[in-house]
């Protein structure tokens, strides 16, 4: 299944490509394929410099899988990163797999646990907080 247009992100900040395994009803799992660009920016060492962008990839994967309602994908955004651990940044030309699981939700704030793999090698794991909706969270 190719990634549909639910996400607002575009190159060079779109990190998800193909949905490998759609979420189940309870969102106990879902997998998304990420092809790391081997274009000019990546070749020049300018892309994916921060492993924290893997957290953004987890968030984009979560929003994509949360999908179904395009409004959510278009309006959701990364609101926080927790317990994030990156083993190494991805390299140009690699194909990554992002595995995402819903951890919980309260109101507009949704927490997802995610892992990023390159083949069998784990590249990063952690949790992301995503806010569904267009406005900043109320204090």
């Amino acid at each position: 299944m190719k990634a549909p247009a639910e996400l607002p992100h575009a190159y060079p900040f779109r990190f998800v490509e193909t949905v490998l395994e759609p979420r189940d009803d309870a969102f106990s799992r879902g997998r998304v394929l990420v092809a790391v660009s081997a274009n000019g920016r990546a070749a020049a060492g300018e892309a994916w410099q921060s492993p924290l962008l893997l957290a953004e990839a987890i968030a984009q994967s979560a929003l994509l899988l949360e999908g179904g309602d395009p409004e959510i994908g278009r309006k959701g955004f990364l609101a926080g990163v927790e317990s994030f651990e990156a083993m190494r940044p991805p390299r140009a030309g690699e194909t990554l797999e992002v595995r995402v699981r819903l951890a919980g939700r309260f109101g507009a704030i949704v927490k997802f646990d995610g892992e990023v793999f390159c083949g069998a090698e784990p590249l990063a794991r952690g949790s992301v907080l995503v806010r569904e909706g267009g406005s900043p969270p109320p204090r």
Binding site: A103, G104, F106, G107, I109, K111, L129, R139
Partner: protein, 86 residues
Amino acid sequence: MSNQDLAPKVKDLIVRRLKLDIDPSTIQNDAPLFGEGLGLDSIDALELVLGLEQEFGIKVEDEEVGVKAFASVDALCDFIEQKKIA
């Protein structure tokens, strides 16, 4: 279990899950957790929801219920007690 017995456990949950740098016993039972008082926000609320589920086996069904339950330590203790009875 009375609120008196439950309150220390709830305070410990709040401090631990939210990584607050305070002594749990300094949290007043009737002080508001959000806004004034501890100054928690909506992201903290989600962490408390997960903490209640994982450590007390209690689900918070929706935001409306959660907002009332998270009003104070006393309110949270009452909520836990009600859920245990139900």
